[in-house]
């Protein structure tokens, strides 16, 4: 009997050990194993993964290089306050300042991981890295929140900050759970009617956020209807198409020069409901273009408060609390006004609800 029990115990132990030994390594978003010894000491980033890496790492230490465009986004936004050393990250790893890699410059840094796009101009962006045998971690553009989570977990695994990545994911889920509750309350007040929203990624040429874009998903989650949902990819649309859609609210990409006044002054836009009712708003810029794991919920909160004016406004409090909790930053009122584009949005209806005198404190725990 003892022999049998011992054998069973040994067999179970073997199975457990075998199971441990077979724990699969994380896979990147093209399905390849990521075999980086965490925590990585030197990483190179080409895409928007830079700001999430900084956030998880709480510093720019391991970033051995990044594309100039992403470093510029960090150094000209709120994240510069949290990570001032990021401005000095070497940018020669990209030959065009964006996503085309400078393979020799990257090889010189002997990185443990190189984060690059997959499914986006691969012959130019990805293949030179693969050919050089560099440890590529391929990431696709976000299609849904599972990509957010998967990206965060990959960075967590590479940087050895998995616990912090999971905490951010939990925060994200909690934020949307609270938001969903408010959106339902708002929709009850409007008897379930959702407003037609156009997210204009570019004004000239007119390119809206399409139905496959994650910003469109977040827009719908904020309680609106994406009028351009029928588009399957970013494409130019005619002004007549926008007249046909007749959006009730137009939101403009945070980080170019287009302002609500541009649309109000353009005679072509005159018949559009959003312009007639002065409901064109520029998305706040935040630290990471009001997108991604940390700022995505803030973008949705901002839009929900614009779509449902009867809801209490907690955005300024949420912004303050998020930046305090995640980055340890205390944002003053002037900084909040700047990031919310209070000046350019002041010509639009109802934007004063975000003014420093009218908002309530955050409802975040």
């Amino acid at each position: 009997m003892r022999l049998i029990l011992t054998s069973v115990a040994l067999a179970v132990l073997c199975l457990v050990r075998t199971g441990e030994a077979q724990t699969p390594p994380p896979q990147d978003q093209r399905g390849r194993d990521v075999s980086v010894a965490a925590p990585a000491q030197r990483v190179v980033t080409f895409n928007s993964v830079l700001w999430l890496y900084l956030t998880l790492e709480r510093g720019a230490g391991p970033i051995a290089g990044a594309s100039a465009s992403t470093v510029r986004t960090v150094s000209t936004g709120l994240l510069d306050r949290a990570f001032p050393s990021a401005a000095a990250i070497p940018t020669d790893v990209s030959v065009d300042g964006f996503f085309v890699p400078n393979v020799e410059a990257i090889l010189r840094r002997a990185p443990d991981a190189v984060f690059q796009w997959v499914g986006r101009n691969d012959p130019a962006y990805l293949e030179p890295l693969d050919r050089a045998g560099l440890p590529v971690v391929a990431l696709r553009q976000t299609r849904d929140e599972r990509d957010y989570f998967s990206t965060a977990r990959l960075i967590g695994a590479v940087s050895g900050r998995s616990a912090r990545a999971e905490a951010l994911i939990d925060d994200y889920r909690d934020s949307y759970a609270r938001l969903d509750h408010h959106v339902q309350a708002g929709l009850q007040a409007t008897k379930g009617r959702r407003q037609r929203v156009l997210y204009l990624w570019k004004w000239r040429p007119l390119i809206p956020i399409d139905g496959k874009n994650f910003f469109g998903t977040l827009l719908e989650r904020a309680g609106g209807v994406n009028v351009a949902a029928q588009l399957a990819r970013p494409e130019r649309v005619s002004m007549e198409k926008i007249l046909l859609w007749d959006p009730e609210v137009v939101v403009l990409f945070c980080c170019d020069r287009t302002t609500p006044s541009d649309l109000y002054q353009d005679p072509m836009w005159r018949p559009v409901s959003a312009v007639r009712n002065r409901r064109v708003y520029k998305v706040p810029s935040g630290g990471s273009r009001f997108a991604d794991l940390v700022e995505g919920p803030l973008y949705s909160r901002w839009l929900t408060e614009l779509l449902f004016p009867e809801l209490p406004s907690t955005l300024r409090g949420d912004l303050r609390q998020t930046f305090q909790q995640v980055y340890g930053l205390d944002l003053d009122d002037d900084t909040l006004d700047h990031t919310l584009h209070m000046k350019v949005n002041s010509v639009s209806a109802g934007y004063d609800r975000f003014s420093r005198s009218l908002t309530q404190e955050s409802l975040r725990p």
């Binding site: 465009s69 065009d96 300042g97 964006f98 996503f99 101009n121 570019k202 000239r204 040429p205 390119i207 970013p234 494409e235 130019r236 649309v237 005619s238 002004m239 007549e240 198409k241 007249l243 046909l244 007749d246 170019d256 020069r257 005679p267 072509m268 005159r270 018949p271």
Partner: protein
């Protein structure tokens, strides 16, 4: 009953004028936003007539905007550009006695395109962008002219060769600008602009580019009988009292002005200036007194039809520069084959 070729030549200009007018009215009907034909007609009448004579405004503001602010400037700009390119092509081909030249031969298009995409890179818009494209075209012409003066003998051939060099240089610079442009925000606008489109047509653009095109086009029309003399050959023209070299430079400068203005408003639209004069020559013959005005009208008609196709063929608007090239190249090949058999002067 058959129409003789001389009758056809006489009727060509009035017939083309009528066709163009009808095509313009039809084009005002085309668009994504539904506007009934009768409403289009009433809106156009209201736009044209003084307030007292205009029909009652029973249309919506969106219908008014669609017809008068979106479609009308576009139709007028397309016609103006098409007329300019057709006229410029006919004048150049006559002047050089060569049916294979087009109005972009001296590198003006590539230079204007460089100015335009540089403006996009630097976030210029509106008049500043038009000015940049225009300046680019003029710089290209100046460079081509300077190169042509370096060679011995002068004449038009060194200018054409200089134009090829300048065009290659600016094409390389255009590639460089696209390479350094932000692939998310700047590159799509650059590419779309380079392949040509009238989607951003506006009254402001029309007001900016109409004066150079109308002025240069008017002067070319005024020179049409001199172009006839040039097409006889250099010696014959000189013996008839024409100052050949000066006239050639004047024509080239006028063509440059038209092309630079067109490119600055709508990006690169190729083949119109090459194909249209051939077609028109089949209709009216080689006499430039008829050929130039007929080429202007046919150019406007051709480009308007291409733009209508570009707007309606697919859910997303097609770049007109691609369409004119796709239609223009086989048509040109066919015409070339036909004209090879008869001789391009049709005489």
């Amino acid at each position: 009953m058959s129409i003789s070729s001389s009758s056809l030549a006489r009727l060509a200009v009035p017939l083309l004028s009528l066709s163009l007018l009808l095509a313009m009215l039809m084009s005002l009907r085309i668009g994504t936003y539904p506007v009934p034909t009768l409403t289009v007609a009433r809106v156009v009448l209201a736009w044209l007539l003084p307030a007292g004579m205009a029909p009652a405004s029973d249309w919506s503001e969106a219908e008014w905007v669609a017809v008068t602010i979106i479609r009308l400037p576009r139709v007028l700009l397309v016609c103006l550009a098409g007329a300019g390119l057709g006229l410029a092509g006919a004048a150049l081909q006559g002047m050089m006695r060569n049916p294979l030249v087009g109005p972009d031969i001296v590198g003006i298009s590539a230079g204007a395109a460089f100015g335009g995409i540089l403006a996009i890179l630097l976030d210029f818009s509106g008049p500043a962008m038009l000015a940049a494209a225009f300046a680019g075209g003029m710089v290209a012409l100046a460079l081509a002219w300077t190169l042509s003066r370096l060679g011995r003998g002068g004449g038009v051939l060194p200018l054409v060769l200089g134009g090829i060099i300048v065009a290659a240089f600016f094409t390389a610079l255009n590639g460089l600008l696209q390479y350094v442009a932000d692939p998310d925000s700047k590159l799509p606008a650059m590419v779309y602009w380079l392949i040509g489109s009238f989607a951003a047509a506006s009254i402001d653009k029309l007001v900016l580019v109409a004066p150079p095109i109308v002025l240069a086009g008017g002067l070319l029309l005024a020179l049409r009988w001199r172009v006839n003399l040039l097409s006889l050959g250099e010696l014959d023209a000189a013996s008839l009292g024409i100052r050949v070299e000066r006239l050639r430079w004047l024509i080239i400068a006028l063509v440059a002005m038209i092309v630079a203005a067109q490119v600055s408003a709508s990006g690169m639209v190729g083949w119109v200036g090459l194909v249209v004069p051939h077609f028109t020559r089949m209709l009216v013959g080689p006499d430039h007194r008829r050929l130039l005005p007929a080429s202007a009208l046919f150019g406007a008609l051709f480009l308007l039809m291409m733009d209508d196709v570009a707007r309606t063929l697919a859910s997303q608007e097609l770049p007109i520069g691609v369409l004119t090239a796709v239609v223009g190249t086989p048509v040109f090949a066919f015409l070339y084959w036909r004209l090879q058999a008869r001789g391009w002067n049709n005489d």
